[in-house]
């Protein structure tokens, strides 16, 4: 995926806080509706979006220096619906985290760590890059 892919994205910028989850969700749902993305795809996208946003809200910025989150979305040729989540925190590649051990029984299973795993399961394509001072996570969903 090239950088120019995001040139036809629509964007929203909000504080990186839990209160922004709902407005971000509404923004993307509205775009998905405009672009007639099938509802099954929308559901997957919704989950991926929440997971990515929660990661930014929780980890991107220190408590005493809050920042913003940017969410962009677009569809190319109506076949691929993509969202991108950007933050301006320290560089961090979520794809470098190891997958949770799903085979562990309940006694041994650690809490958390599922978020990025679910993103990878829901999206058809994921990509991380750090560019121009921002972490940029893109996921795309095939509408075919």
């Amino acid at each position: 995926m090239q950088n120019s892919e995001t040139s036809d994205f629509s964007w929203i910028t909000l504080p990186a806080s839990l209160e922004s989850l709902e407005p971000c969700r509404c923004f993307v749902l509205e775009k998905a509706d405009e672009l007639r993305v099938p509802s099954e795809i929308v559901s997957k996208m919704e989950l991926a979006l929440e997971e990515l946003l929660v990661n930014v809200v929780k980890y991107a910025y220190p408590e005493d220096a809050p920042g913003v989150v940017e969410v962009g979305c677009s569809a190319s040729d109506g076949q691929l619906f993509c969202i991108q989540v950007r933050d301006y925190g320290r560089p961090f590649d979520p794809l470098s985290m190891s997958e949770p051990d799903r085979g562990l029984d309940i006694e041994q299973r650690p809490i958390g760590g599922l978020g990025i795993y679910l993103v990878r399961q829901m999206a058809d394509r994921v990509r991380y890059e750090y560019a121009e001072g921002s972490n940029r996570f893109t996921c795309c969903f095939s509408c075919e």
């Binding site: 559901s43 989950l47 929440e50 949770p100 799903r102 085979g103 309940i106 006694e107 299973r109 795993y117």
Partner: protein, 110 residues
């Protein structure tokens, strides 16, 4: 999210309605914690009204399950939609808690 707790002969049914997401999870933790404090040990989580779940919601269910088991009880999950059941399965949770198609079958298996 809405919560209703119903005491049945075989166990306690927690009926959920809404989205079990990051925003609802703390409320879920608190409500279920209250029911545990009241002594409920055979708990069925009725997911009929749950239209969406994210990893924070899954985490809350995991914590609830761990608490119940530490108290010598059991947690059964019932009536998940295709979407929610799919997320459960993908994240491996189907192997952790017994999953049922209905509240009745979940209650019967304690």
């Amino acid at each position: 999210m809405e919560f209703v707790g119903v005491k049945e002969p075989n166990g306690f049914v927690i009926r959920l309605k809404g989205r079990l997401d990051t925003v609802a999870a703390p409320q879920f933790d608190e409500k279920c914690g209250q029911w545990l404090e009241q002594g409920e040990r055979h708990v069925v989580l009725d997911m009929t009204g749950v239209e969406y779940i994210s990893s924070v919601g899954l985490r809350s269910i995991l914590i609830l399950g761990k608490k119940i088991m530490a108290l010598g009880g059991k947690l059964h999950i019932s009536s998940m939609s295709k979407l929610v059941g799919g997320v459960f399965q993908i994240s491996g949770f189907s192997g952790i808690f017994p999953v049922f198609d209905s509240v009745d079958s979940a209650l019967a298996k304690f």
